[in-house]
Point group: C2
Chain length 119, copies 2
């Protein structure tokens, strides 16, 4: 699983994303690695190449994005298609973006409820 963030000029934000990918890797069965659409390394193509070299035959790309927009609709599908072309033996699945999960609303509702508790 390649967990893709936008990528930032702030090293701390990129590191936080790699830390999140490591936490997810520790939590789920398949191997999870972090990657970045732009501005940071590894790229989607690098992450797919490394997965293939490690023997992966299926790679799921999970966009860690909240809002629908050009990145989700155009840029990431294009980067995934480019990566797929260079790795014809690997099945690459582009998953729905994180923010499209209806459970996001549950998290927000919980955050609002906690904000109302007396501090």
């Amino acid at each position: 699983v390649v967990l893709v963030a936008h990528g930032s000029r702030a090293a701390a934000a990129n590191q936080a994303h790699l830390d999140l990918a490591a936490a997810l890797d520790a939590r789920v069965g398949p191997t999870v690695v972090g990657a970045f659409m732009e501005l940071a390394e590894p790229s989607i193509a690098d992450a797919v190449a490394r997965a293939a070299e490690a023997g992966a035959t299926v790679v799921a790309v999970l966009p860690y994005f909240l809002h629908p927009g050009r990145h989700q609709r155009v840029d990431i599908p294009q980067l995934v298609a480019d990566a797929a072309e260079t790795r014809p033996g690997v099945e690459i699945r582009l998953l729905d973006p994180f923010g499209s999960d209806p459970a996001v609303l549950d998290l927000l509702a919980g955050q609002v409820a906690r904000s109302l508790l007396p501090s």
Copy 2:
């Protein structure tokens, strides 16, 4: 509750954020409105002003951001402080950003698990 997104040049992304705020409003007790850090309207200050005019005495600002960075650390606190200065009668609470919720990892784990199901 003011749910703050970054703001986009893509009108559809901004509309998606306002739709999410409306869905959250329908779900929780307090009134929820969407706002934007930049690039779209309403601003945080506008949303706080409207809440105050509607009689709110406490406004919770919830940054709908995934990654820690300059926006979370500097820009949004500054915009919230500016809004607070113009509305001394209103208590403004800046909540932890959406992405800092440990439950984000649960959502991601569920998304990975579903991606492994035969389609």
